[in-house]
């Protein structure tokens, strides 16, 4: 039954995981890109070995994003945005090693929980997933958008920033591949060539997080790097596994949220970590510590985005529908071998199914070992003098932006434009986190909102479609009410001081 487990099979998983971590750790390169680059290699390798390589890249790529998110404050992948909120403040306080260890353990748990759910419940969950029509998918996105309120320092300005992000995300074509009409909107005359598909996400992301931080530092004078003595690394690290004693609920909840978002095609990986983070904050006894170096924030974010890995394979292997952008590339490994993926796939291909489960298991373990062993050295990145580190980061950002769409120079301009915008936005008291959440979720929100109205013809459908819609409304209301409550409490505390 397990004849596919050969030295080559294991080697490909470990090599894929390592390469995936490297891709994920470089801002601008993603798990999706890693899988796309290696896809043509899978035909000569055969299906099981090819999948071993790609699944290693997938798990490694999703996990690697936490390294720059924590150490540099630049999310390596869009799903690592929430990791920067607490990881970077911890690294700034000299606790980068602790933050990395928390992130890696959480990633492992998230990956394994989602793998267990995939193995045990894939067909059942796929049946459940098809209950989610345009209406329910819009409400999930709307729910994720409420995180904008939870993350805002000033509620009104935060929501305004988020709405601005949505507005800018809608520049370009109403994509015909997503059911749109192909109409190009909000594009100034003469800019069609550059903006017909809008601003690319990753250059915007890198610009807002990477370049903005560099410009801010340049404005106040380039600081010295941390000295080795400032860092709590090795025996001085305050990390212990006891940290997770109070985080078991957070770990499990976030892993399940990630898996759940993964099984819904078209909702997107960023929503997984956003929803997990928002929930962790809502359930926390100290929500005010989130965004200031709270370990629970890293736990939620990393368990959530790695939870996605198993979840996104559920619709792929049960319906032939990829759950996220990376599994959309992964399906190419099957088509290159001439194998149909659909509702009969698991039953018709038990060996391939077993190989995928084993490969995911080994990839998660390999990811944990590779990253855990390298932590002590990685954490020292912050000791590199900033006058050396910043130019290197800038160069990586520019190279990453240029390669995202295979060599479009306008993507580098996008990086620079949004880096400058982020720097100005802070001065105007606009908030970057809600802005980028709006930018990421805006296109999906538009498509599902318009499609819901086109399909059902009436706004009341959002309230009457199904019991799932009712549950989602309750969650949305609870999230908004919680944000309002915490915002008022914070204001009254500030006034009291």
């Amino acid at each position: 039954m397990f004849e596919f487990i050969t030295p080559l099979f294991c080697l490909l998983i470990v090599a894929g995981t390592f390469a995936g971590i490297v891709f994920g750790a470089i801002p601008g390169l993603t798990a999706t890109m890693a899988v796309a680059v290696c896809l043509p290699l899978t035909y000569p390798l055969g299906l099981e070995n090819g999948l071993a390589l790609l699944l290693g890249l997938y798990v490694g790529g999703i996990s690697g994003g936490l390294v720059p998110a924590i150490l540099l404050g630049i999310p390596g992948t869009p799903s690592s945005i929430t990791t920067t909120f607490d990881g970077f403040p911890m690294a700034t306080a000299g606790e980068g090693e602790k933050a990395l260890r928390i992130g890696i353990v959480s990633s492992l748990v998230g990956g394994l929980v989602s793998l267990a759910i995939l193995f045990l419940f894939a067909p059942t969950l796929a049946d459940f997933a098809i209950e989610f029509s345009y209406v329910e998918k819009f409400l999930i996105i709307f729910f994720a958008l409420t995180v904008m309120a939870a993350l805002s320092k000033d509620l009104l300005l935060g929501i305004f920033s988020g709405m601005l992000g949505i507005f800018i995300s809608l520049i370009g074509q109403y994509d015909i591949n997503n059911g749109g009409n192909g109409h190009i909107r909000l594009v100034p005359d003469g800019w069609d060539y550059y903006l017909d598909t809008g601003f690319s996400l990753l250059p915007v992301l890198i610009g807002l997080f990477g370049l903005t931080a560099i410009l801010e530092q340049a404005e106040i004078g380039v600081p010295k790097g941390h000295s080795r003595e400032d860092l709590k690394v090795g025996s001085e690290s305050t990390f212990s596994f006891g940290i997770f004693r109070n985080q078991i609920g957070n770990l499990m909840r976030s892993s399940c949220i990630g898996t759940f978002v993964g099984i819904l095609p078209g909702v997107g990986g960023s929503a997984a970590s956003l929803l997990a983070y928002s929930n962790a904050k809502s359930f926390s006894r100290h929500p005010e510590t989130f965004g200031k170096g709270e370990p629970a924030g890293i736990v939620a974010s990393e368990a959530g985005n790695n939870g996605l890995t198993g979840g996104a394979l559920v619709p792929l292997l049960s319906l032939g529908i990829p759950g996220d952008s990376t599994t959309a590339i992964l399906i190419g490994a099957f088509t290159l071998q001439g194998i149909q993926v659909g509702p009969l796939f698991i039953g018709n291909n038990p060996d391939t199914w077993s190989a995928m489960i084993v490969a995911m298991l080994i990839a998660n373990i390999a990811m944990f070992l590779l990253m855990y062993l390298a932590i002590r050295h990685l954490a020292l990145v912050v000791t590199v003098p900033k006058h050396i580190l910043f130019p290197v980061i800038l160069m990586m950002c520019v190279v990453g932006a240029y390669t995202i769409n295979y060599g479009i120079i306008f993507d580098v301009w996008t990086l620079l434009i949004f880096g400058l915008f982020g720097w100005l936005a802070v001065k105007l008291r606009l908030e970057v986190a809600p802005f980028i959440i709006g930018f990421i979720l805006g296109p999906s929100a538009e498509i599902y909102f318009v499609k819901s109205l086109e399909s059902f013809g009436d706004v009341s459908i959002f309230f009457t479609k199904s019991w799932i819609a009712c549950v989602l409304w309750l969650l949305i209301i609870a999230s908004l009410a919680g944000s309002l409550y915490f915002s008022r409490r914070a204001k009254s505390e500030t006034a009291g001081e």
Partner: protein, 347 residues
């Protein structure tokens, strides 16, 4: 030997000539690294699958590195338009001209803006399906229902291969019972997942799909919410006859032929059936050196003469359909003109 200025000049000139010689020799040839952009952004679809087969064969035959990039139609045309060196070539199918015939915003006439090249394969899988629990079990049921005043919703992605079958359905309804064509309405969706979901949500009565993507759903038991049934396959029967006898999945070629003309009729004018083969072909930058086209032409001729590529294409349910540059241009121009007339007639 003493080093004189004369010796230095002669040596330098010889070295320059030696370095330049291979470049001059290769100037007319396909570059060492070639990017084959495709008009689809999916690596799970037929365009990627077919392009990967052809790129592998050309890479091996010419000793070059040809890589397929799934960038989508808009970006693929743009990348092709930027590069006249032959470093970027494109592979796409009939949608490249159909979207222009359907007036999709921003689409160009590929016959005018680019050079249309060799055909390599046909995907005979373009199909239309209904839910197994649907009251409409055949195209005859669908057209009869429209004639009886029932509204039939068809999920398609506008402006391409998906829409031309829909246009043919509308036309068949009009031929059968003038006025009934208004009862066949399009539901614009995105990719295949959206079309399937439209059926499961009860938003569409008929969906566009493919044999490859939907065959497994037709094998599900009747009481399964996801179960589907083919009602129409647009390919010509001559094309389907070339598919392997075992067909796809659990559906044999003979089963598939039941859904294609003439056994399933979607009439064009009352006397002949509408058929449509989805063909894949090369597109080149119009200013590119034609020697590169000749090189691809010669290489593909030899590759198809060897025969191995046909086996791989048939194994992936493609029908090999190599036409050299001149023949392909004539064939595709005539095909475009034919469907331009059909669209003008039925729109």
């Amino acid at each position: 030997m003493s080093i004189t200025r004369r010796n230095l000049i002669v040596t330098g000139a010889a070295a320059t000539a030696a370095l330049a010689a291979p470049r001059i020799a290769r100037a007319q040839a396909l570059p060492r690294n070639v990017r084959l952009v495709i008009g689809s952004s999916s690596t799970g679809g037929d365009t990627y699958q077919n392009s990967a087969i052809v790129a592998d064969a050309l890479s091996e035959h010419l000793g070059i590195n040809m890589r397929v990039d799934a960038v989508g139609a808009s970006e693929a045309f743009r990348a092709l338009g930027r590069d006249s060196r032959g470093t970027t070539l494109m592979m796409f199918h009939d949608q490249s001209y159909l979207q222009q015939l359907y007036g999709v915003e921003g689409s160009e006439d590929p016959f005018a803006a680019y050079t249309v090249g060799q055909t390599v394969a046909i995907n005979p899988g373009n199909a239309y399906l209904v839910a197994k629990s649907s009251p409409y079990q055949t195209m005859e049921d669908v057209l009869a229902a429209a004639a009886n005043g029932e509204r039939i919703r068809v999920a398609i992605q506008p402006g391409g291969v998906s829409e031309i079958g829909f246009s043919a359905m509308v036309n068949a309804a009009k031929v059968r019972a003038p006025g009934s064509e208004a009862n066949i309405v399009a539901v614009n969706t995105g990719d295949q997942a959206d079309k399937n979901q439209a059926m499961w949500d009860g938003l569409a009565d008929v969906i566009n799909g493919s044999i490859q993507a939907n065959e497994q759903f037709t094998q599900l038991p009747d009481d399964d919410q996801r179960a589907m049934r083919f009602v129409w396959i647009t390919a010509r029967p001559e094309t389907l006859q070339q598919a392997p006898a075992e067909g796809m999945g659990n559906t044999t070629r003979d089963d598939l032929l039941r859904y294609a003309s003439p056994q399933t009729s979607v009439t064009l004018d009352g006397s002949q059936d509408f058929t449509f083969d989805k063909e894949f072909f090369f597109l080149y930058n119009s200013e590119m050196d034609t020697a590169i086209i000749d090189q691809v032409d010669a290489a593909l001729t030899e590759i198809y003469a060897a025969g191995a590529i046909q086996e791989r294409q048939l194994g992936s349910f493609f029908i090999p359909n190599f036409l050299n540059f001149a023949d392909a241009q004539a064939h595709l121009t005539a095909k475009r003109d034919t469907y331009a007339e059909v669209i003008a007639e039925i729109s």
